[in-house]
Symmetry: C5
Subunit: 364 residues, 5 copies
């Protein structure tokens, strides 16, 4: 996971706020709409923006969805047709927004980050939501169409989606986006538990890099998801005085809030656990160094005195046959076995010393 890119910002320094730029759009975006009132419901898969706008009325709900990153022309048209603020359109285009809620004259505008596990890490996709009278406009700058689940639920007549207004649809889409974090967190949790097992049983060197990567990604992820909590909280508090949300939706917003808090809790727990793992890794590296040094020390200290002794009898004083003081040991009848005996005694004494110090067993 990279830090988020500020290129959009950087390229626009000095230009007027709310200026859209021509960004390369790799794959074209698709637009569709769903319109429902009472038991009626119509899906419009090949519709243009103006026709979609024409569907909107105060006593029905129209859901317009754009999948993929809209190009500049489409954004300009969206602004005109739905009377969206140029700053909101700029935010839709920039793709590196923190989650936030803006209340404009005619619309509510929310930006969420949709986390997705891409096989080796987490990617965040920007999910934009506008709600005005009688319509919800959602723009998801990603490839996979996660909103299909909501569209499928909508097919049934007596579901809450169908019996409530645009506010419930707005909520249902936020709920969908927020819930995407759970499988990602599950994957994270499993990875952290796998790392823990490796850490405690056979800490390898690759672990260091893995722990660092996890710690870093959790720091970034937490910071990028954290404001979601505030968005939902604002929605709960603001729902009353702005009358955007029907009072009976309050428990649903509360439930959504619980989910965001739960997600933050898990992210913080993982972050703290991974931070501890780094300390434990350092400890286990030190422990291994101790093991190595113990082996070296034992071998060295046992053999160094013995090597000295054999060195003594390698001296050539024995050649001097004129002095009785010149290595008489060499001429003793049991000289050689005696030297072996002395050396074995020393080795045994050393071994007992090490056992007393507790250096022999793997216990310390």
């Amino acid at each position: 996971m990279g830090f988020d890119s500020h290129r959009t910002h950087t390229r626009k320094i000095g230009s007027a706020p709310g200026t859209l730029i021509d960004l390369p759009v790799t794959s074209p975006s698709r637009l569709w709409a769903v319109h429902y009132r009472g038991e009626e419901m119509h899906e419009h898969l090949d519709i243009d923006l103006d026709d979609a706008r024409a569907l909107v009325s105060a006593d029905s709900v129209t859901w317009i969805h754009i999948q993929g990153q809209p190009d500049r022309r489409l954004l300009d048209r969206l602004g005109e047709v739905f009377d969206l603020h140029s700053l909101a359109l700029e935010d839709v285009q920039s793709l590196v927004q923190r989650p936030k809620l803006d209340v404009y004259q005619e619309q509510l505008f929310a930006i969420l980050n949709l986390p997705r596990w891409n096989g080796e890490g987490v990617e965040l996709e920007q999910f934009n939501l506008f709600m005005g009278e009688g319509y919800v406009l959602s723009i998801h700058a990603g490839e996979e169409e996660v909103v299909q689940a909501v569209r499928r639920r909508m097919a049934k007549v007596r579901t809450r989606l169908r019996t409530h207004g645009a506010d419930y649809l707005f909520y249902a889409l936020m709920d969908l986006v927020v819930d995407q974090a759970f499988p990602v967190l599950e994957t994270f949790g499993e990875e952290v538990e796998a790392l823990e097992e490796v850490l405690l049983e056979r800490p390898s060197r690759d672990l260091l890099s893995a722990i660092y990567q996890h710690k870093r990604n959790l720091m970034i992820l937490r910071r990028q998801l954290w404001p979601t909590r505030e968005v939902v909280s604002q929605l709960m508090r603001g729902a009353n005085d702005e009358e955007y949300f029907a009072p009976d939706l309050q428990p649903f917003l509360q439930d959504l809030y619980d989910h965001t808090v739960h997600i933050m809790d898990l992210l913080e727990t993982y972050r703290d656990v991974v931070a501890s793992m780094l300390d434990v890794y350092l400890s286990s590296v030190s422990n291994r160094l101790n093991d190595i040094m113990r082996v070296l020390t034992m071998i060295s200290t046992i053999f160094i005195p013995l090597t000295f002794i054999v060195g003594v009898y390698g001296m050539n004083f024995g050649n001097n046959t004129k002095s009785p003081w010149a290595m008489p040991e060499l001429n003793w009848y049991y000289g050689y076995p005696l030297v072996w005996g002395v050396m074995l005694l020393i080795a045994a004494a050393m071994t007992i010393f090490f056992r007393r110090k507790g250096w022999l067993g793997g216990s310390r």
Copy 2:
């Protein structure tokens, strides 16, 4: 202790909020009810839900308890019979909720986590409490029936339980659940003190893993119990304007709040203490490495010069009898004892040097 499982969440992504799912329920749940008014009290051990509901009246108290995890069918029935919100039922089923308090139209709904020591760690069991007019409904997704203590106290006529309404019963059950933390904390405290003793007296390698496990479990436990404080605090503040609780219960809620704060204090103290232990463990590993290196260094530095000297007289220059410069020492009358003398001198000098450095005693 594992991180909490998000499987319930994960399996339901995209489904409508408030949707119950068919989870495998290993052991069936049991339902019983107690009904009391004034001096009368009846226990109904083999009652079905509708009969239990029929007992409820505004001038008596009915306590309905479900022991074990209710299956989907029972939850559906509970929702219908007691008019419970589908989001509340979903929370009862999910088992991984943070402690929280929800205020619905007709009920107060609290979720608590009941900590239990399972021999080697802490497990959390979800305890759900609903209070409506004239009744309390408790659902404990665990095996052991901890509420028996309250039922036994209820047997006596003149206890507060009997002379107060459903609000006191609701409080008494929360108090029971919160108090379950104390024996768990006592066990934790004893384990931490045992670890401390090991740490300061004979730090073994297993300690590292034990400290890590404790630190990690305390981090998780603290995060999962922390919201309990807020639940009780909400109950205290909300009791007045909602009139759920009689004014003379305020001191009891205050007492309950004191307990939750005390529990959090202890959890944080343990966490901080265990975090310090990791640092001290690292220090003691370094100290041990110092010990080992000191022994190695002493043995090596004493014998290396000596081994050099005996090596010198192992050189075969003495064979050259034609030069007076070729190792005359070998032919000195006291040559051999003299070499020993020099070597003993060197060893003594080294030992004095080490004693001066303070490397000989175990004091540094």
Copy 3:
């Protein structure tokens, strides 16, 4: 200092809130009373509870003091005679309360922790204070009677204690308990400064355990005294609307608050300083290891090449007199002194190398 004991809590799980239990009381508690009005003052050293109660009137002050831990019977009687809430009595008995202030219908109830240096660590004694109309009831679960200082001051007629009501007495006792922290902190400060000196001049191994013990005790102490601040703050804020305290006592409460804040400041400073010491200790252990390794490395690297050289001339190729290539050096006239010359040169070169690296002086 142990973590605080939860045995009282643990033993009572499931019993009704406000239930007193029969605890073993090692030494009996003593009760005395002082009664004063205007210039009159009487001490009653051998008085029973009912007579003490009879002294109480709205226009005089009666101070009833219990020294030592009251047994269950006395607590029951206290509850009846002074109309105390059973939850307050339970708190008096449990001895492990956090400092707190409870406002009951007829009394103000404060719990404070009185710190005392027991020679090697800090002990906390619970000090309970009740104030009702015309009386103050103090219960000190400790052996030494610290309140004697207040009683002595009371002997003088024109002191504030005699010219003010029960509120000033209540304040004066809190002030006395809070001030007990200063000598304890002075002792702590001296110990910390002594540790610092040892740390910077001759870090010994015992230091590690001492630092850990201090860090741990400061963490526990801070957490157990911290709520005192809130108690005094509540008293200051609450004094007005509850009219428990005369307005001219406000500066005294402010002064008391200053003291508690000062105590917390000192505790936090000590804790932070001790935490830094652990890091510095780790550094100095590493420095010592460096010293040891430097000595080993110097001795080894000087002698290892020399030992190799003498080994070369210990080879028996010289025995082969048939080849001119077979160790002719052995037969050179100045062979032996030349070898010594080469070895001295190598040793000198090594020494210069080490001096350049800065490994010889103790400066790095």
Copy 4:
């Protein structure tokens, strides 16, 4: 990046608040003005202060800009001509202010820090903004004229800059200054990612110094930019009751606020990531020490026993032909190859032992 210099403060201790001093001004400052009303717009590049003041009227906008650090004389004149508070002028001169917003009787006064990458680090330039009725006065104590971008946008007639009043100009300049942080942060982000790559692949010693420098600079930078957030937040809250800002500018202030929050988020993320890198660096140093020690230990422990053995047969007991106990091995027919065999066996056993310990591969 140095800590900010307090010389201005230090030199003035004891002088009256609001006293300007004669500071050496290296390059002279330049002043120009732009005046616009409806479709009219005039640029005045060679104008003096009094003439600029004369342009100001309630129904037009005059923008006066000073590029470079104004000298004392100019500041004095500014104070007189625009009726600025002497404390504000003192702040303009001191150059080491934290970002802040002061509301004076007749003006709004904002100080911002403009970050600029100077090739190897970040420099902060003070940007001062005054807004009074009908005018904006900007003073930028830097060399490069960043405000040119705004002046260029102003050239077009129908831009918001031209159709709004002084408030929008004030906002547009703040937006410009705040946005300067993005390219700086982009550079920082690239450097941090480069350091990460070095850290995980080939940690060199220079890395330590680089990490430290980054950590330190991020700490300083964060602290110096942090108050910007509060400045914008004050502007948003204060805009209503002070009526300095037209209501339709609220979304623009909100957008500005989002940018400052985003910048702080990035700074904190970088700081946290760099802090983790230090820990990982320490770990990798320890790992490298382990590698080195493992090689030393393997070579030593394999050869030390072998060297002992060859030492044994270097002893001169064999010269003693009178004793059958005196090294009979030397005279065995296969003695020499046997010794080699034994030594190869020992070496093989050692190698197997090390392989089992996992010390041979680079895997641990």
Copy 5:
């Protein structure tokens, strides 16, 4: 810098609050007064307390200053003459107060800590300020008379000091005391930068102690100056409803507040920077250990195999002339040069191995 001394507190435990004690006063304090109204101003250098009091009137300003620590008698007299609260006098005497602001019936009472660099560290001197109607009473328990700067400014007739009342004088003295921190911080900043240079270029052992001392002193200093911020903030908020300060002084208080915040910012930056230095120091110690171990390992691993080889040919098997298996190498014509060849090869191979590992250059 020592922790602050609690002896004053300790000596007084049990005595009545507001009791002055007889402290040894080493040098006598001096008192002088300045009295001004409109263009008149009189200095009274040899005045006693009662005469000073007599100067005070509602339509003039009297500044009474006491330099040095007043003895008990003077404090008692001050209390009587100016009607000061005994708790305030106690605070003046105790010298270890945190900065604070107390609002009494007739006076405003502020305590500030004046930091002073004493050559090797920071000392705090208590500065007490009373303001009542028509007078300011300042007590500075230090030797050097820092207030002379204000007195000198007062000599000019048209300064703000002369044209405003006691409130401006009170502010001007606070400003003077707060500004004393800047030269101290400048000195600190220079020392920290000097330490940084040493750290990154040639980390010596003395550095550890220096870093620790700085970290510790910054922690203490920050804690002792921190409440200053709150004092000024209280003054700003309280000025309106208490009417102690004229409304046009609000910008001056704001300016003072900016200074205290700036000081805290610098202290926290220094503290964080010094804390990082400790980590970096630890790293560089580890790096140095790596250097040392690398040298040892290279020398050892090159020579250990060579020493083994020469040991082999030191064995006395060659004496056994009866077996063709007994060291035939000794009798080869080119045996000796061959052994040298093999040894040089091994040394070369080892050197290449080390170069590949990157252990030869100083780069890693």
